[in-house]
Symmetry: C2
Subunit: 212 residues, 2 copies
């Protein structure tokens, strides 16, 4: 396992250097199956494309469903099918980057496989990490799956439109997140109603200004 992780770190460093060279900000978007990663991207691509050139890498076990959704909103997509593997790794992204014109992009979104465990252990060389979880998953996810939250630059709490139909106390969620990932920016959104999406898109634009 140490060899696997060592090889991944090496390729992640190469990816990081390639992203820097291409002057592109790579955003690794992670979260449970059905947490809303694709819907959040669908909604962010429109406003961001007014100012920035965007590319998207879609990681899925087998299907191209998410890639089709992203293409439908007019973005360029590279599909990685992991063939059953539970996470993207740096080698997969390295291959994708060779065939993808990252020099043309300002932002490269990388949507990871839906999984709150494994993707947290595999650095892709990304610039920013965004963890999405939905209130319908319950209040205890950050405490139960801390690694996924600990290294996040931003945590998006999605599906707040469903809050009244759950027993989730957002104060408790915020308190847990503050302990587990004190530096992360936290956004409360509904990708369905659009509530709060502007705040996280603004945050992302601020990061782009800082980083470029």
């Amino acid at each position: 396992m140490d060899n696997v992780m060592g090889a991944n770190e090496e390729l992640a460093a190469k990816n990081k250097a390639a992203f820097k060279e291409a002057d592109v900000v790579a955003v690794n978007v992670m979260g449970s199956p059905g947490s809303g990663k694709t819907t959040i991207l669908e909604n962010a691509l429109g406003p961001l494309s007014e100012k920035y050139k965007l590319g998207v890498i879609e990681g899925d076990l087998f299907t191209t469903r998410d890639a089709e959704r992203i293409e439908a909103v007019g973005a360029e997509v590279y599909q990685i099918n992991t063939g059953g593997s539970c996470h993207l790794n740096a080698a997969m992204v390295n291959e994708a980057v060779k065939e993808f014109p990252i020099d043309d992009y300002d932002v490269l979104f990388i949507e990871n496989v839906g999984n709150l465990v494994c993707p947290a252990s595999f650095d892709l060389g990304e610039t920013l990490r965004v963890t999405v979880f939905s209130v319908s998953e319950g209040a205890d996810k950050a405490v139960k799956y801390p690694k996924m939250f600990r290294r996040a630059h931003a945590v998006i709490i999605n599906k707040v439109d469903l809050l009244d139909h759950t027993d989730v106390d957002l104060d408790e969620v915020r308190k847990d997140l503050r302990e587990i990932t004190p530096k992360a920016s936290i956004f409360e959104v509904s990708a369905t109603t659009g509530e709060g999406l502007e705040d996280w898109i603004d945050w992302l634009q601020e990061q782009l200004v800082k980083l470029q």
Copy 2:
């Protein structure tokens, strides 16, 4: 990896033999983080305990939160903390079984780590596999994560009380499930309101009669 899987298969066979010897039906409960596995167990334990002696193994990365919830409803629990690993394996269950009086039980529930990918690849020696997913995860989960559904004896579609607040079409979900896992029994439940829980508990009791 082949060695890892081979060693797991060997221990899974040992577990299977031990469950048979102890005349206990082992039920591997799998699904995404927040799909409702623990709540479904909490609700099943009461009715089942009137007729059967029950034990529960709780698999979590680090915490004991789910085990505490199960203990609170009066069941005996053995906690496995995987230390970050994304699934239970047969060796962990083998250790648990040594310290757990399975001879006393009719049913041993094994709640796996919240993950729609990895647990599907690791046989624990279980008698029955139950996959839980919630409508708030979206309609496409069975298609996107087929392995988790293909070998399931039962699929529980949870959180149907939230259906009106999602764009999920249950007919589409049922159709996909029929293609991916034609033999599985499918239940539509709300672990929160109790709707449909009786049907899956009845199904489980039928299986126990058949198997014992």
